[in-house]
């Protein structure tokens, strides 16, 4: 439908969700909405990377259990994370022994997984699809920034990678909320090179997909109870609102951001907010899904945002491109 969108004939039910986070996220404003708060950031494993896979494994398993399904009922697993070759999702889904698609959209991964999952279910290719995304603060720092023990300062525009996993079962059978439409984002490059300001990298991608969504469906921000981006943070939120105003849409009253809501910036020293695959994934699967279930929200546009930071291309002088995917979830 339109340029970049698709609507679904079947109601694709978000049958269950599971969210698992670390201790810091557990102490944040959304703490009580998560299924499991893991006090041990190593999750009993011996490295950050293995810990992330453990978070992923527990989250995927729990989502299946909460849907009252067995692993055999899952037709496809769509999962991803930030680590090279999607190691977090790979080792997390290894034991499930179900057909597996690794997906990567940096921090927008859960949006990609939900979009593709809904397509598979609606197209009749699957009855139940398991979608998930994970990230781990320490593993991300180690891969993308510096060793944790290095004494450096974080600039005020920087964000804090969320440790955790969010997973959801999409199903042909099941009650509300439903995924009713998707708008798939384009890759966007607005010339930003600052890897300590991911909000500025991703805001144009969010603007691009949100305005495309409104054009494709002839909707305005008023159609939704909330437009929820993934991890723009405070810096990216301001930019998104200004960019969308430029396009003729005022989202200042409807916009919410998982990165802003998952941490308390005054007490948790997270600067611009939370980030990482698990930021949008865990905030949606924990908090926002719950808000939909108890009808505090009825129509949301969920827009996980991703900055595609490749350390090699970055060092070779390329800009950081970004992408965002919009998923309409309604009761």
């Amino acid at each position: 439908m339109g340029e970049q969108s698709a609507t679904f004939d079947f109601k694709v039910s978000v049958k269950s969700t599971a969210s698992i986070v670390g201790a810091k996220e557990g102490k944040g404003p959304l703490g009580k909405y998560f299924d499991i708060v893991m006090e041990d950031i190593l999750a009993g494993k011996e490295s950050w990377e293995k810990a992330e896979s453990e978070f992923a494994r527990l989250g995927l398993d729990l989502a299946v259990k909460k849907a009252e399904l067995k692993n055999e009922d899952i037709d496809y697993v769509l999962a991803g994370d930030l680590l090279s070759q999607s190691a977090g999702a790979t080792f997390g889904a290894l034991d499930m022994k179900r057909p597996f698609f690794g997906v990567f959209g940096a921090c927008s991964t859960i949006g990609e997984a939900l979009s593709l999952g809904a397509v598979l279910v609606d197209g009749g290719f699957a009855k139940n699809v398991l979608a998930g995304a994970s990230s781990h603060f320490c593993a991300a720092e180690k891969q993308f920034r510096f060793p944790l023990e290095l004494g450096t300062q974080r600039p005020p525009t920087s964000t804090w990678t969320v440790t955790g996993e969010g997973a959801a079962v999409l199903s042909r059978e099941g009650g509300p909320p439903y995924i009713t439409a998707i708008t798939t984002g384009r890759l966007v490059d607005m010339g930003v090179k600052d890897q300590n300001n991911m909000g500025a990298v991703m805001a144009p991608a969010a603007c691009d997909v949100i305005s495309a969504h409104f054009r494709d469906f002839g909707r305005t921000p008023d159609y939704y109870d909330a437009i929820i981006t993934g991890d723009l943070g405070y810096v990216g939120q301001e930019l998104l609102i200004r960019l969308l105003k430029n396009e003729g849409y005022d989202v200042s009253k409807k916009h919410r951001d998982c990165g802003i809501e998952i941490f308390d910036k005054n007490t948790q020293d997270t600067h611009s907010g939370g980030s990482g695959c698990a930021c949008a994934a865990a905030a949606f699967c924990g908090y926002f899904y719950n808000e939909l279930k108890c009808r505090k929200l009825n129509k949301i546009l969920f827009v996980p945002t991703g900055a595609i930071l490749n350390p090699t291309s970055f060092m070779q002088g390329e800009n950081i491109p970004s992408v965002a995917h919009a998923v309409v979830i309604e009761n």
């Binding site: 011996e46 490295s47 990377e49 180690k142 510096f146 060793p147 944790l148 023990e149 290095l150 004494g151 450096t152 300062q153 974080r154 600039p155 005020p156 525009t157 966007v188 607005m190 010339g191 930003v192 300001n197 500025a200 144009p204 991608a205 603007c207 691009d208 405070y234 810096v235 301001e238 930019l239 200004r242 960019l243 430029n246 396009e247 611009s272």
Partner: protein, 148 residues
């Protein structure tokens, strides 16, 4: 969004406007206090070495070695990164910061093994310092040799 909407240049300006500024003055003050403090500790060690009978040059060397030891120890104990968060350049620029930049990757990458993890990654941060330091010394040496 491509250039037709707002344009990269205009967006760059918008980003500049919205980005919160680093608290440069407060940061510099903290860097000053901590950096100066580390140098005073160095001076104390230096004077102790002198009074223990060391020559001026070897006192300097002992001072460097002791500070490097302290830098590695505090890194291992997980204290140096907290000092660094507070002090910024104040704990990066002194030689203890060099020790921190060697010790931190050594510890972080031990999970990848002692040869390809610790051994290969130990200079991942500090390596450039040694490369460009020694190259500078070769350039200066060449100039000195041919002009003395």
């Amino acid at each position: 969004m491509d250039d037709t909407y707002i344009g990269k240049e205009k967006y760059k300006e918008m980003v500049k406007e919205t980005a919160p500024k680093s608290k440069t003055t407060a940061n510099s003050f903290r860097a000053f206090i901590v950096g100066g403090g580390i140098c005073v500790i160095g001076q104390i060690i230096h004077n102790l070495c002198l009074s223990a009978g060391a020559g001026r040059d070897s006192a300097g060397t002992y001072t460097a070695v002791v500070l490097i030891f302290l830098g590695c120890l505090l890194t291992g104990l997980g204290i140096y990164d907290k000092i660094g968060k507070f002090a910024g350049a104040g704990s990066v620029v002194p030689i203890t910061g060099f020790a921190n930049s060697v010790s931190a990757p050594a510890i972080e990458f031990k999970k990848e093994g002692y040869v390809l993890g610790v051994g290969a990654k130990i200079f991942v941060v500090a390596g450039p310092v040694i490369v460009y330091g020694t190259i500078s010394s070769i350039i200066v040496g060449l100039i000195y040799y041919f002009t003395r």
